[in-house]
């Protein structure tokens, strides 16, 4: 029997845009894989780098942050800060030898339901090709 492995994706979505964008893609009946787990955050800038690493430790295979387009932040400037932080964090993960494709930032507005679904489809495809996350897992954190 062949077991087909499916990746676990954690998507951190900003309450004011991407979360609504995910909703819109649902009401529009656009399909995206069910292994994307959405976590709602008040702003992309709320994403503590620890959350990302923790998601990986607990068994996520890919983590994506979706926020408002730069300039459209509900709190005016939150995503500008998030952008710098994520750039540096991703660069550090790369420096430590973690596969580059496992983390991503995408700007998705509340009106971009189609973009949300397309992004998720593409991200799941990338992660499926990368395979299981072995380099960042933490056995003690798993059930």
């Amino acid at each position: 029997m062949q077991v087909t492995w499916k990746p676990t994706i954690v998507a951190f979505c900003c309450n004011w845009c991407s979360y609504a964008g995910a909703d819109l893609s649902g009401t529009n009946r656009l399909q995206y894989p069910a292994n994307v787990k959405i976590i709602r955050i008040p702003c992309s800038c709320r994403l503590n780098p620890m959350f990302i690493l923790r998601a990986f430790q607990k068994g996520a295979d890919g983590v994506i942050l979706c926020g408002c387009h730069p300039g459209d932040c509900h709190y005016t400037t939150g995503n500008y800060y998030a952008r710098r932080r994520m750039t540096l964090l991703f660069s550090m993960l790369d420096f430590l030898g973690i596969e580059k494709g496992r983390t991503r930032v995408e700007w998705v507005s509340a009106a971009e339901g189609a973009k949300f679904a397309a992004t998720m489809n593409e991200f799941v495809k990338t992660i499926t090709e990368l395979g299981e996350n072995r380099r960042l897992e933490d056995l003690r954190c798993k059930e």
């Binding site: 500008y80 710098r84 750039t87 540096l88 550090m92 973690i98 580059k100 991503r104 380099r135 003690r140």
Partner: protein, 325 residues
């Protein structure tokens, strides 16, 4: 450097300072540790300055800042950067300190002396570029440049950015420090090689938290890693991601505030090159957001507390330098 101890005595006697923050001999003659001296007798008995005074005293200023009166503190160039950074973050009060800037031409590492095959050392003194080492087997000499601490080998600046009084000459930045060379070497490796390098280094971590405790930029009253509910405040038995997690976050939390004083690597009992993580962040911020030196002044905004509308997107990481993964 002569005159440091004398200066401590003079400052106490003149009443300019109520106490002196300096160095004293620890368990061995080569582990000078920070110490607070309140009387001339204490200074006479314990104060010590020499080629092993690598400890950065800035972090201890946070505690001294809460005491009454003025504390005289000795700061080497790299410590002065840390002090300015603490001032910038309102962690120390300027008026509570009388700063004696001490010019420094590098501090030594006992391990390096041992590695050169000199054992049984009982005293070390410097004479220009030469170290004179008295051992139980007789006198030995070695070049000082071979015995320097890792952080001193790639010294970024000999400029004292803050002082009330100066011992020695004011120095200059060292643009030819080559401090990013090792980071660049790692960047050129393949992701697999980098992963096994860091797994090898970081899995030696015993989570003693020395790197965190010594860091002048780590000044939170309660650290996120002191949270027992996290379930990861101890060492994992297997080689696991936990050490990476701790060290990534430790370095990330001081990004754009780290002055690159190198204390983390100096105190690591496992000799993990932790400063490379900090330097990677410094190198990235310099390249992506413009050159920035934490602690160089009080006015500039740290890169992570600032932004530009035309900053690069995080996807830039997938395209730039190093081996592709």
């Amino acid at each position: 450097m002569q005159g440091v101890k004398e200066k401590a005595l003079e400052l106490l006697a003149s009443g300019k300072a109520q106490r002196v923050l300096g160095w004293k001999t620890g368990e061995f003659f080569y582990d000078l540790t920070p110490g607070v001296f309140e009387s001339a007798e204490e200074v006479e008995r314990e104060f010590e300055y020499g080629v092993f005074a690598g400890a950065n005293l800035s972090k201890y200023c946070i505690a001294e800042s809460k005491k009454d009166g003025v504390t005289a503190v000795f700061l080497k160039p790299c410590d002065a950067y840390s002090f300015v950074q603490l001032l910038k973050e309102y962690k120390v009060k300027r008026e509570k300190f009388y700063i004696v800037g001490v010019q420094c031409d590098g501090m030594c590492d006992m391990e390096k002396i041992r590695a050169a095959g000199i054992s049984g050392a009982t005293a070390v003194s410097e004479d220009g570029d030469t170290l004179k080492i008295s051992t139980i087997y007789g006198e030995e000499t070695m070049k000082k440049s071979d015995a320097l601490l890792l952080k001193c080998k790639t010294c970024k600046s000999k400029k004292l950015v803050i002082f009330d009084e100066l011992l020695g000459e004011q120095g200059e930045d060292c643009p030819e420090s080559h401090r990013f060379d090792e980071v660049e070497r790692l960047e050129r490796l393949s992701p697999e090689e980098r992963f096994s390098f860091w797994r090898g280094e970081l899995s030696r971590c015993i989570r003693c938290n020395a790197c965190r405790n010594v860091c002048p930029a780590c000044t939170c009253e309660t650290c996120v890693f002191d949270n027992h509910n996290l379930g990861t405040d101890n060492k994992a038995a297997a080689s696991d991601f936990e050490e990476n997690f701790f060290h990534i976050i430790r370095a990330f939390h001081v990004t754009s505030r780290c002055t690159d004083c190198g204390e983390c690597s100096r105190v690591c009992p496992q000799h993990i090159p932790l400063h490379l993580l900090n330097r990677k962040f410094i190198k990235d911020t310099n390249e992506l957001y413009g050159a920035y030196q934490a602690g160089a002044d009080l006015e500039s905004r740290p890169p992570l507390m600032d932004f530009r509308k035309d900053d690069c997107e995080p996807s830039v990481v997938y395209e730039r330098g190093g081996a592709k993964g």
